[in-house]
Amino acid sequence: MSRSDVLVTADWAQENLGAPGLVFVEVDEDTSAYDGGHLEGAVKLDWKTDLQDPLRRDFLDKGAFESLLSAKGISNDDTVVLYGGNNNWFAAYAYWYFKIYGHGDVKLVDGGRKKWELDGRPLSKDVVERPATQYSASEPDTSIRAFRDEVVASIGSKNIVDVRSPDEFSGKILAPAHLPQEQSQKGGHVPTAINIPWSKAANEDGTFKSDADLEKLYAEQGFDDSKPTIAYCRIGERSSHTWFVLRELLGKSDVKNYDGSWVEYGSLVGVPIEK
Protein backbone atom coordinates (compact mmCIF):
# COMPACT_ATOMS: atom_id res chain seq x y z
CA MET A 1 0.00 0.00 0.00
CA SER A 2 1.36 3.41 -0.88
CA ARG A 3 0.11 6.94 -1.31
CA SER A 4 -0.79 6.48 -4.98
CA ASP A 5 -3.02 3.48 -4.15
CA VAL A 6 -5.17 5.34 -1.66
CA LEU A 7 -5.00 9.02 -2.56
CA VAL A 8 -5.85 10.75 -5.85
CA THR A 9 -5.30 14.37 -6.80
CA ALA A 10 -8.10 16.77 -7.67
CA ASP A 11 -6.72 16.79 -11.24
CA TRP A 12 -6.99 13.01 -11.47
CA ALA A 13 -10.51 13.13 -10.04
CA GLN A 14 -11.62 15.77 -12.54
CA GLU A 15 -10.16 13.79 -15.46
CA ASN A 16 -11.85 10.59 -14.29
CA LEU A 17 -15.36 11.85 -13.51
CA GLY A 18 -17.81 9.43 -15.11
CA ALA A 19 -15.16 6.76 -15.81
CA PRO A 20 -16.59 3.22 -15.71
CA GLY A 21 -15.88 1.27 -12.54
CA LEU A 22 -15.42 4.42 -10.45
CA VAL A 23 -18.03 5.73 -8.03
CA PHE A 24 -17.45 9.17 -6.54
CA VAL A 25 -19.02 9.52 -3.11
CA GLU A 26 -19.35 12.76 -1.14
CA VAL A 27 -19.54 12.25 2.64
CA ASP A 28 -20.58 15.04 4.97
CA GLU A 29 -22.48 15.57 8.12
CA ASP A 30 -24.29 18.56 6.68
CA THR A 31 -25.29 17.46 3.19
CA SER A 32 -26.47 20.91 2.15
CA ALA A 33 -23.00 21.30 0.62
CA TYR A 34 -23.68 18.36 -1.70
CA ASP A 35 -27.12 19.67 -2.55
CA GLY A 36 -25.65 23.04 -3.52
CA GLY A 37 -23.25 21.42 -5.98
CA HIS A 38 -21.19 18.23 -6.09
CA LEU A 39 -18.70 16.46 -8.32
CA GLU A 40 -20.44 15.37 -11.53
CA GLY A 41 -22.01 11.96 -10.97
CA ALA A 42 -21.11 11.72 -7.28
CA VAL A 43 -23.57 10.13 -4.87
CA LYS A 44 -23.89 11.35 -1.30
CA LEU A 45 -23.63 9.62 2.02
CA ASP A 46 -24.90 11.46 5.07
CA TRP A 47 -22.53 10.71 7.95
CA LYS A 48 -25.33 10.82 10.46
CA THR A 49 -28.46 9.50 8.77
CA ASP A 50 -26.80 6.97 6.43
CA LEU A 51 -23.77 5.71 8.36
CA GLN A 52 -24.94 5.59 12.00
CA ASP A 53 -27.30 3.10 13.56
CA PRO A 54 -30.60 4.96 14.07
CA LEU A 55 -30.95 3.78 17.66
CA ARG A 56 -27.67 2.72 19.26
CA ARG A 57 -24.37 4.62 19.16
CA ASP A 58 -22.69 2.38 16.60
CA PHE A 59 -22.21 1.61 12.94
CA LEU A 60 -24.79 0.05 10.73
CA ASP A 61 -24.61 -3.71 11.02
CA LYS A 62 -23.43 -5.75 8.03
CA GLY A 63 -26.90 -6.24 6.58
CA ALA A 64 -27.79 -2.56 6.83
CA PHE A 65 -24.47 -1.56 5.24
CA GLU A 66 -25.16 -3.97 2.37
CA SER A 67 -28.63 -2.47 1.88
CA LEU A 68 -27.23 1.08 1.93
CA LEU A 69 -24.52 0.42 -0.66
CA SER A 70 -26.89 -1.60 -2.83
CA ALA A 71 -29.39 1.28 -2.83
CA LYS A 72 -26.63 3.77 -3.67
CA GLY A 73 -25.66 1.65 -6.67
CA ILE A 74 -22.19 0.71 -5.44
CA SER A 75 -20.81 -2.71 -6.42
CA ASN A 76 -18.14 -4.76 -4.68
CA ASP A 77 -15.75 -4.37 -7.60
CA ASP A 78 -16.24 -0.60 -7.98
CA THR A 79 -13.43 1.73 -7.01
CA VAL A 80 -14.97 4.06 -4.42
CA VAL A 81 -13.50 7.58 -4.58
CA LEU A 82 -14.41 9.55 -1.45
CA TYR A 83 -14.30 13.27 -0.81
CA GLY A 84 -16.04 15.73 1.51
CA GLY A 85 -15.95 18.92 3.51
CA ASN A 86 -14.23 19.60 6.86
CA ASN A 87 -10.83 18.78 5.32
CA ASN A 88 -12.07 15.29 4.40
CA TRP A 89 -12.81 14.30 8.04
CA PHE A 90 -16.03 12.51 7.19
CA ALA A 91 -14.64 11.13 3.93
CA ALA A 92 -11.72 9.65 5.89
CA TYR A 93 -14.20 8.23 8.38
CA ALA A 94 -16.11 6.63 5.49
CA TYR A 95 -12.82 5.29 4.07
CA TRP A 96 -12.10 3.56 7.39
CA TYR A 97 -15.71 2.33 7.57
CA PHE A 98 -15.59 0.88 4.03
CA LYS A 99 -12.36 -0.90 5.02
CA ILE A 100 -14.01 -2.33 8.14
CA TYR A 101 -16.62 -3.91 5.89
CA GLY A 102 -13.93 -5.15 3.50
CA HIS A 103 -14.39 -2.97 0.41
CA GLY A 104 -11.43 -3.64 -1.90
CA ASP A 105 -10.54 -0.42 -3.67
CA VAL A 106 -11.18 2.84 -1.83
CA LYS A 107 -9.48 6.18 -2.44
CA LEU A 108 -9.63 9.71 -1.07
CA VAL A 109 -9.51 12.86 -3.19
CA ASP A 110 -6.63 14.89 -1.75
CA GLY A 111 -7.96 18.17 -0.35
CA GLY A 112 -11.61 17.11 -0.67
CA ARG A 113 -14.27 19.73 -1.29
CA LYS A 114 -12.13 22.55 -0.01
CA LYS A 115 -9.34 22.29 -2.55
CA TRP A 116 -11.92 21.61 -5.26
CA GLU A 117 -13.74 24.84 -4.40
CA LEU A 118 -10.59 26.92 -3.88
CA ASP A 119 -9.39 25.77 -7.32
CA GLY A 120 -12.74 26.87 -8.81
CA ARG A 121 -13.40 23.42 -10.29
CA PRO A 122 -16.87 22.63 -11.70
CA LEU A 123 -19.73 21.45 -9.47
CA SER A 124 -23.02 19.98 -10.60
CA LYS A 125 -26.53 20.17 -9.17
CA ASP A 126 -27.84 17.29 -11.28
CA VAL A 127 -29.67 14.56 -9.40
CA VAL A 128 -27.55 11.41 -9.52
CA GLU A 129 -29.32 8.08 -9.96
CA ARG A 130 -27.44 4.80 -10.14
CA PRO A 131 -29.08 1.41 -10.69
CA ALA A 132 -29.31 -0.64 -7.51
CA THR A 133 -26.76 -3.39 -6.92
CA GLN A 134 -26.47 -6.49 -4.75
CA TYR A 135 -23.64 -5.42 -2.45
CA SER A 136 -22.06 -8.02 -0.23
CA ALA A 137 -20.01 -6.89 2.79
CA SER A 138 -17.42 -8.84 4.77
CA GLU A 139 -17.67 -9.44 8.49
CA PRO A 140 -16.41 -6.31 10.31
CA ASP A 141 -12.61 -6.13 10.55
CA THR A 142 -12.08 -5.10 14.16
CA SER A 143 -8.29 -5.11 13.75
CA ILE A 144 -8.64 -1.43 12.80
CA ARG A 145 -11.27 -0.44 15.39
CA ALA A 146 -10.53 0.07 19.09
CA PHE A 147 -13.09 -0.17 21.89
CA ARG A 148 -13.00 1.49 25.29
CA ASP A 149 -11.59 -1.39 27.35
CA GLU A 150 -8.68 -1.73 24.98
CA VAL A 151 -7.96 1.99 25.29
CA VAL A 152 -7.85 1.79 29.09
CA ALA A 153 -5.62 -1.32 28.89
CA SER A 154 -3.28 0.50 26.48
CA ILE A 155 -2.42 3.36 28.81
CA GLY A 156 1.34 3.49 29.16
CA SER A 157 1.97 0.71 26.64
CA LYS A 158 0.70 1.66 23.16
CA ASN A 159 0.92 4.89 21.20
CA ILE A 160 -2.29 6.67 22.11
CA VAL A 161 -2.61 9.61 19.75
CA ASP A 162 -5.06 12.34 20.68
CA VAL A 163 -5.65 14.26 17.45
CA ARG A 164 -7.83 17.04 18.88
CA SER A 165 -6.66 20.63 19.14
CA PRO A 166 -4.30 21.51 22.01
CA ASP A 167 -7.12 23.33 23.82
CA GLU A 168 -9.33 20.24 23.71
CA PHE A 169 -6.39 18.06 24.81
CA SER A 170 -5.81 20.30 27.83
CA GLY A 171 -9.51 20.42 28.66
CA LYS A 172 -9.81 24.18 28.05
CA ILE A 173 -12.56 23.51 25.54
CA LEU A 174 -14.66 20.36 25.14
CA ALA A 175 -15.53 20.37 21.47
CA PRO A 176 -14.03 21.79 18.29
CA ALA A 177 -14.65 25.51 18.39
CA HIS A 178 -17.27 25.61 15.67
CA LEU A 179 -19.67 23.89 18.08
CA PRO A 180 -21.33 25.18 21.26
CA GLN A 181 -19.30 24.20 24.33
CA GLU A 182 -22.02 22.22 26.07
CA GLN A 183 -20.93 18.67 26.77
CA SER A 184 -21.51 16.35 29.66
CA GLN A 185 -18.04 14.78 29.57
CA LYS A 186 -15.08 15.75 31.71
CA GLY A 187 -12.33 17.72 30.00
CA GLY A 188 -8.83 16.35 29.48
CA HIS A 189 -7.24 13.37 27.76
CA VAL A 190 -6.34 9.70 28.16
CA PRO A 191 -3.22 9.44 30.37
CA THR A 192 0.01 8.98 28.37
CA ALA A 193 -1.69 10.10 25.15
CA ILE A 194 0.42 12.28 22.88
CA ASN A 195 -1.28 15.27 21.30
CA ILE A 196 -0.67 15.40 17.56
CA PRO A 197 -3.56 17.43 16.12
CA TRP A 198 -4.94 16.05 12.85
CA SER A 199 -4.45 19.53 11.38
CA LYS A 200 -0.67 19.18 11.54
CA ALA A 201 -0.96 16.43 8.91
CA ALA A 202 -2.74 18.70 6.44
CA ASN A 203 -1.87 21.77 4.41
CA GLU A 204 -4.13 24.81 4.54
CA ASP A 205 -5.95 23.75 1.38
CA GLY A 206 -6.85 20.43 3.01
CA THR A 207 -4.32 18.28 1.10
CA PHE A 208 -2.09 15.90 3.06
CA LYS A 209 1.50 16.84 3.74
CA SER A 210 4.27 14.81 2.07
CA ASP A 211 5.23 11.41 3.46
CA ALA A 212 8.59 12.82 4.58
CA ASP A 213 6.94 15.70 6.46
CA LEU A 214 4.44 13.31 8.04
CA GLU A 215 7.12 10.86 9.20
CA LYS A 216 9.02 13.77 10.74
CA LEU A 217 5.91 15.14 12.45
CA TYR A 218 5.04 11.91 14.28
CA ALA A 219 8.66 11.08 15.14
CA GLU A 220 9.17 14.53 16.67
CA GLN A 221 6.09 14.15 18.84
CA GLY A 222 7.27 10.89 20.37
CA PHE A 223 5.42 8.38 18.19
CA ASP A 224 7.08 4.98 18.71
CA ASP A 225 7.14 2.84 15.53
CA SER A 226 7.66 -0.33 17.54
CA LYS A 227 4.32 -0.05 19.34
CA PRO A 228 0.71 -0.57 18.24
CA THR A 229 -1.32 2.62 17.96
CA ILE A 230 -4.78 3.88 18.88
CA ALA A 231 -5.98 7.24 17.55
CA TYR A 232 -8.94 9.13 18.97
CA CYS A 233 -10.60 12.55 18.87
CA ARG A 234 -14.06 13.56 20.02
CA ILE A 235 -16.36 11.31 17.98
CA GLY A 236 -13.92 9.48 15.72
CA GLU A 237 -13.91 11.36 12.44
CA ARG A 238 -10.81 13.54 12.91
CA SER A 239 -9.00 10.45 14.20
CA SER A 240 -10.04 8.63 11.00
CA HIS A 241 -8.06 11.32 9.19
CA THR A 242 -5.00 10.46 11.31
CA TRP A 243 -5.69 6.72 11.03
CA PHE A 244 -5.59 7.20 7.24
CA VAL A 245 -2.26 9.02 7.50
CA LEU A 246 -0.62 6.47 9.80
CA ARG A 247 -1.87 3.25 8.26
CA GLU A 248 -2.64 4.04 4.64
CA LEU A 249 -0.12 6.76 3.75
CA LEU A 250 2.77 5.83 6.04
CA GLY A 251 2.03 2.09 6.20
CA LYS A 252 2.37 1.73 9.99
CA SER A 253 1.23 -1.65 11.26
CA ASP A 254 -1.47 -2.20 13.87
CA VAL A 255 -3.20 1.19 13.90
CA LYS A 256 -6.74 1.39 15.29
CA ASN A 257 -9.27 4.17 15.35
CA TYR A 258 -11.17 4.56 18.62
CA ASP A 259 -14.46 5.98 17.34
CA GLY A 260 -16.01 6.04 20.80
CA SER A 261 -13.41 8.75 21.37
CA TRP A 262 -13.65 11.49 23.98
CA VAL A 263 -17.45 11.65 24.02
CA GLU A 264 -17.36 8.08 25.33
CA TYR A 265 -14.10 8.09 27.30
CA GLY A 266 -14.79 11.41 29.03
CA SER A 267 -18.14 10.06 30.21
CA LEU A 268 -16.92 6.73 31.62
CA VAL A 269 -17.13 6.29 35.39
CA GLY A 270 -13.85 5.49 37.10
CA VAL A 271 -11.36 5.72 34.24
CA PRO A 272 -8.19 7.79 34.68
CA ILE A 273 -8.02 11.21 33.05
CA GLU A 274 -5.09 13.57 32.70
CA LYS A 275 -5.39 17.30 32.24
Binding site: G85, P176, A177, H178, L179
Partner: protein
Amino acid sequence: MCGAPKQGGALAGVDLSTQTVIQGSVWHDGSPVAGAYVRLLDATDEFTAEVVTSPEGEFRFFAAPGQWTLRSLSPVGRAERSIAADVGLNETTLAIA
Protein backbone atom coordinates in the same frame (compact mmCIF):
# COMPACT_ATOMS: atom_id res chain seq x y z
CA MET B 1 -22.10 15.88 15.50
CA CYS B 2 -18.85 17.41 14.53
CA GLY B 3 -19.56 19.25 11.30
CA ALA B 4 -20.23 22.95 11.52
CA PRO B 5 -23.81 24.10 11.97
CA LYS B 6 -25.22 26.66 9.55
CA GLN B 7 -23.28 29.90 9.79
CA GLY B 8 -24.87 33.24 10.63
CA GLY B 9 -28.43 33.75 11.74
CA ALA B 10 -29.83 34.36 15.20
CA LEU B 11 -28.07 33.36 18.40
CA ALA B 12 -31.29 31.87 19.75
CA GLY B 13 -30.56 29.04 22.15
CA VAL B 14 -26.96 30.16 22.75
CA ASP B 15 -26.26 31.05 26.37
CA LEU B 16 -24.01 34.12 26.18
CA SER B 17 -23.42 34.04 29.93
CA THR B 18 -21.34 30.86 29.50
CA GLN B 19 -20.35 30.71 25.82
CA THR B 20 -17.51 32.68 24.26
CA VAL B 21 -18.84 33.36 20.78
CA ILE B 22 -16.51 34.79 18.14
CA GLN B 23 -18.41 35.77 15.03
CA GLY B 24 -18.34 38.15 12.12
CA SER B 25 -18.16 38.24 8.37
CA VAL B 26 -15.65 38.18 5.54
CA TRP B 27 -15.64 41.09 3.09
CA HIS B 28 -13.92 41.85 -0.20
CA ASP B 29 -14.41 44.86 -2.45
CA GLY B 30 -17.45 46.08 -0.52
CA SER B 31 -19.30 42.76 -0.62
CA PRO B 32 -19.56 39.79 1.74
CA VAL B 33 -17.66 36.68 0.66
CA ALA B 34 -19.77 33.51 0.69
CA GLY B 35 -18.04 30.14 0.81
CA ALA B 36 -14.79 31.42 2.32
CA TYR B 37 -12.94 29.05 4.66
CA VAL B 38 -12.36 30.71 8.02
CA ARG B 39 -10.13 29.04 10.59
CA LEU B 40 -9.67 29.80 14.25
CA LEU B 41 -6.12 29.48 15.57
CA ASP B 42 -5.23 29.38 19.26
CA ALA B 43 -2.65 31.51 21.06
CA THR B 44 0.15 29.25 19.78
CA ASP B 45 -1.14 29.61 16.19
CA GLU B 46 -2.44 26.03 16.18
CA PHE B 47 -5.59 25.14 14.24
CA THR B 48 -8.69 24.91 16.45
CA ALA B 49 -11.64 24.95 14.06
CA GLU B 50 -12.73 25.88 10.57
CA VAL B 51 -16.07 26.87 9.06
CA VAL B 52 -17.34 27.91 5.63
CA THR B 53 -19.04 31.32 5.47
CA SER B 54 -22.77 31.62 4.82
CA PRO B 55 -24.24 33.29 1.70
CA GLU B 56 -23.98 36.56 3.72
CA GLY B 57 -20.29 35.92 4.43
CA GLU B 58 -20.83 35.09 8.10
CA PHE B 59 -18.85 32.81 10.41
CA ARG B 60 -19.25 31.82 14.08
CA PHE B 61 -17.04 30.00 16.61
CA PHE B 62 -17.61 28.83 20.17
CA ALA B 63 -14.28 29.25 21.91
CA ALA B 64 -13.02 30.15 25.36
CA PRO B 65 -11.78 33.47 26.78
CA GLY B 66 -8.31 34.31 25.49
CA GLN B 67 -6.28 35.34 22.49
CA TRP B 68 -7.26 33.93 19.08
CA THR B 69 -6.40 34.45 15.44
CA LEU B 70 -8.88 34.28 12.57
CA ARG B 71 -7.63 33.47 9.07
CA SER B 72 -9.75 33.27 5.94
CA LEU B 73 -8.93 31.46 2.73
CA SER B 74 -10.92 31.96 -0.46
CA PRO B 75 -10.41 32.13 -4.22
CA VAL B 76 -10.38 35.99 -3.99
CA GLY B 77 -7.60 36.08 -1.38
CA ARG B 78 -6.83 35.73 2.30
CA ALA B 79 -7.16 37.84 5.42
CA GLU B 80 -6.04 37.52 9.02
CA ARG B 81 -6.90 39.20 12.31
CA SER B 82 -6.17 38.69 16.03
CA ILE B 83 -8.87 38.99 18.62
CA ALA B 84 -8.96 38.94 22.42
CA ALA B 85 -12.21 37.20 23.35
CA ASP B 86 -14.23 37.27 26.57
CA VAL B 87 -17.27 35.31 27.64
CA GLY B 88 -20.21 36.60 25.59
CA LEU B 89 -20.36 37.90 22.07
CA ASN B 90 -17.14 38.95 20.32
CA GLU B 91 -17.68 40.40 16.84
CA THR B 92 -15.15 41.19 14.16
CA THR B 93 -14.74 41.60 10.42
CA LEU B 94 -12.17 40.03 8.12
CA ALA B 95 -11.41 42.26 5.14
CA ILE B 96 -9.62 40.74 2.17
CA ALA B 97 -7.46 43.45 0.62
